[in-house]
């Protein structure tokens, strides 16, 4: 049972004697095995929320907890997939994926089993001994996802993981992630500024506004998805053609626009 709880979270920065409120009054519970996406304009604090769940940043008010334990620092139970991949350039694909498992004290045979499973799943077969710089962006992010999944974490945190990829690779990765998420359901907090991506991937969407960053509305996508049976369509473009999808996407856009998201695209 792994849930993420944001309770009255606030993040205030002090600069030159002035207080800048980055996040205010954030209350959210991500249920066990729920896929929650946070959408919002740049600078609304959505990445900060994820980083607080990861333990890379801390709230100045309120608390962030995973399974009722307050988050104090980073760890393999809250695996992160970074926008910039953050794979170790001096390690092979295999060694990168293995790194966290060694920290967890998993024995060699089990490590091999798990790594081979996710290498296969992420389509990395044959690339085990390659170095990150030899791989395309999409491949590198697959390695990063494998690296996170292989830890069997309580919670998966993804910070605009497809943001650095080209449009076509992005779509492929989204389809793969959906397949992966349905096959190995976990608690996921997914950050993105791309509305379509959020509607396609998430069970619920948290729409945030900026300055100060706060939650505008939380939308239930799963009920619509199951009702309209989007999963019957294997291809993303078929899902995105569904009237229910289009309607939902519009709704989210309108929310973002009315909250002054001038640079939303």
């Amino acid at each position: 049972m792994a849930s993420i709880t944001f309770q009255g979270v606030e993040r205030v920065f002090h600069q030159n004697g002035k207080a800048f409120v980055a996040l205010k009054d954030v209350n959210l519970v991500v249920q066990d095995r729920e896929f929650v996406a946070i959408v919002g304009p740049s600078g609304c604090g959505k990445t900060t929320c994820m980083r607080m769940a990861a333990g890379l940043e801390h709230p100045t008010g309120g608390s962030v907890s995973v399974d009722s334990e307050i988050v104090t620092g980073p760890g393999p139970d809250r695996a992160v997939v970074f926008q910039a991949f953050a794979l170790f350039p001096w390690k092979t694909v295999w060694d990168n994926v293995e790194f966290g498992l060694i920290s967890l004290g998993v024995d060699k045979a089990e490590r091999r089993r798990r790594i081979e499973h996710y290498i296969e799943l992420m389509g990395l077969h044959g690339y085990e001994q390659a170095y990150p710089h030899q791989l395309s962006g999409g491949m590198q992010q697959r390695v990063a996802i494998a690296r996170a999944y292989v830890l069997d974490p309580k919670v998966l945190l993804m910070d605009e993981p497809f943001g650095a990829l080209d449009a076509q690779t992005r779509v492929v990765m989204q389809e793969e992630l959906v397949r992966l998420a349905r096959q190995h359901p976990r608690t996921v907090l997914f950050i993105t500024h791309a509305v379509e991506e959020a509607v396609y991937l998430a069970d619920r969407i948290v729409v945030m506004t900026g300055r100060p960053g706060t939650i505008r509305e939380i939308i239930d996508v799963k009920s619509i998805r199951t009702q309209e049976n989007w999963d019957q369509h294997a291809r993303i473009e078929d899902v995105m053609d569904q009237p229910s999808f289009v309607h939902l996407r519009s709704h989210v856009w309108k929310l973002l626009r009315s909250s002054g998201a001038a640079d939303a695209h």
């Binding site: 890379l56 760890g75 953050a86």
Partner: protein, 260 residues
Amino acid sequence: MLQPRLPAARTAWLTLVGAGGFLLIWTLAALSGMTSRNFLPTPWDVVIRFAQLVVEPFAGFTLFQHLLSSFRRFATGFVLAVAVGIPLGLLMAWFVWVDRIVSPAFDAIRFVAPIAWVPFAALWFGTGIGGPVLIIFMGAFPPVLINTYRGAKNVDRKYIEAAQMLGASHFRAMTQVLLPAAVPSIVAGLRISAGLGWQSLVGAELIVASSGVGYLMVKGQAAVSTATVMSGMAAIGVVGVLIDIALRRLQQSIETRRGL
């Protein structure tokens, strides 16, 4: 205004003119008789003397034996500097409290020229190997420490965060993340370090040795044989260049492996 690069033929010609001119002036000055041939030998005299030293012992050993003696001291001091400098640099970069403790002491010492450690070395080690090794260490250590520290400190934050997220212990973070990331900086530091160490060596041997190239030069000076002294200088120069070339190769091979 920056001039465009000269064609290769022109460069070769100018180099020849420069070197040739230098040797010519030197030869003329030596032959002019203004001082004795012992005092100012011609370039050819030096070449002859160099060849002699290769086969005939002087001050106890042949040139290569002296060089080997010097190189042994250099290697010991250099390896010691690396063995202490790299781990300490990593520890200082990772643990702020280690930085706070070590920095003041380090800053106090680093500006003392290696040569200035000679009297201290003489008192403590006499003419044993310890003296020159200490001085070489004092020359080689600061660049290794500084470059390791800087390289580790400048590691992209995202790798540190990834390592922490992946549950790395302090030891694994330092050895598997900081160290590899800092390698380009460390290797650059090694080149500087080796150069300084080798240069300091001679100064050390002038005073606290009974073998080695520096010792050879001092004995040459005592015998008023400038040709001997210059042969020593040439040997030092050649070995210094070879050490640098070796390290430069190392640097290049590391850079290719990393895809830089």
